[in-house]
């Protein structure tokens, strides 16, 4: 499922944030686009939050 992040370690969590800069100079801060937490409930909560932000955003 898109939105996962993997790292070869015993890490607690990992995330990837992205900022897009268009060729015309426009900047789009996308925030955290991919997230993983050792606790599956935290991963689930992040996905739910992402869906919610899309709806209200």
């Amino acid at each position: 499922m898109a939105g996962n992040v993997l790292t070869r370690s015993g890490a607690r969590e990992a995330s990837i944030s992205a900022t897009v800069t268009r060729a015309d100079g426009t900047v789009e801060h996308l925030g955290v686009v991919s997230y993983w937490h050792r606790n599956p409930l935290r991963r689930w909560a992040w996905r739910i939050g992402r869906v919610f932000r899309r709806i209200v955003g």
Binding site: M1, A2, G3, N4, V5, L6, T7, R8, S9, G10, A11, R12, E13, A14, S15, I16, S17, A18, T19, V20, T21, R22, A23, L30, V33, S34, W36, R38
Partner: protein, 131 residues
């Protein structure tokens, strides 16, 4: 009785990773998804001919001092792209799209559509704790 890595030990982990000569720091994007913990490369390079970008690594603080390893780097599109994944490798690799070296960190995400000249600045954080 308990045995654990204390907070200073966590900082040692990220310090060691940050100082390691062949640490994961080269960013490559792609147009696939779904790699798992056994992956050695991004899922689909597709038409992403861009070279891997050497990111800047650092120690950061999320919960306890220096518990986070960070890689920051920006890749610029050489043409229209539909980016859905990024990998962090321990080497630049070779070829176009680049291959080789070892994948250390991987993430996939909802598509980011780009035109030629657009770029994405990625910030990759890996946080450690005692559990």
């Amino acid at each position: 009785m308990a045995a654990l890595v204390v907070n200073t030990g966590l900082a040692n982990i990220t310090a060691a990773w940050h100082a390691y000569a062949t640490r994961a720091r080269y960013l490559q994007w792609g147009e696939g998804t779904g790699q798992d913990a056994t992956a050695t490369a991004i899922a689909t390079a597709g038409d992403t001919t861009e070279a891997r970008v050497e990111g800047t690594t650092s120690q950061q603080t999320t919960t306890t001092t220096d518990d986070t390893y960070r890689v920051v780097g920006t890749i610029t599109a050489a043409g229209a792209r539909a980016i859905t994944e990024v990998g962090v490798f321990d080497g630049a690799g070779s070829g176009s799209p680049p291959t080789g070296a070892n994948l250390g960190i991987y993430g996939d995400f909802t598509v980011i559509n780009l035109a030629s000249g657009d770029s994405i600045a990625f910030t990759v954080n890996v946080v450690f704790d005692q559990a």
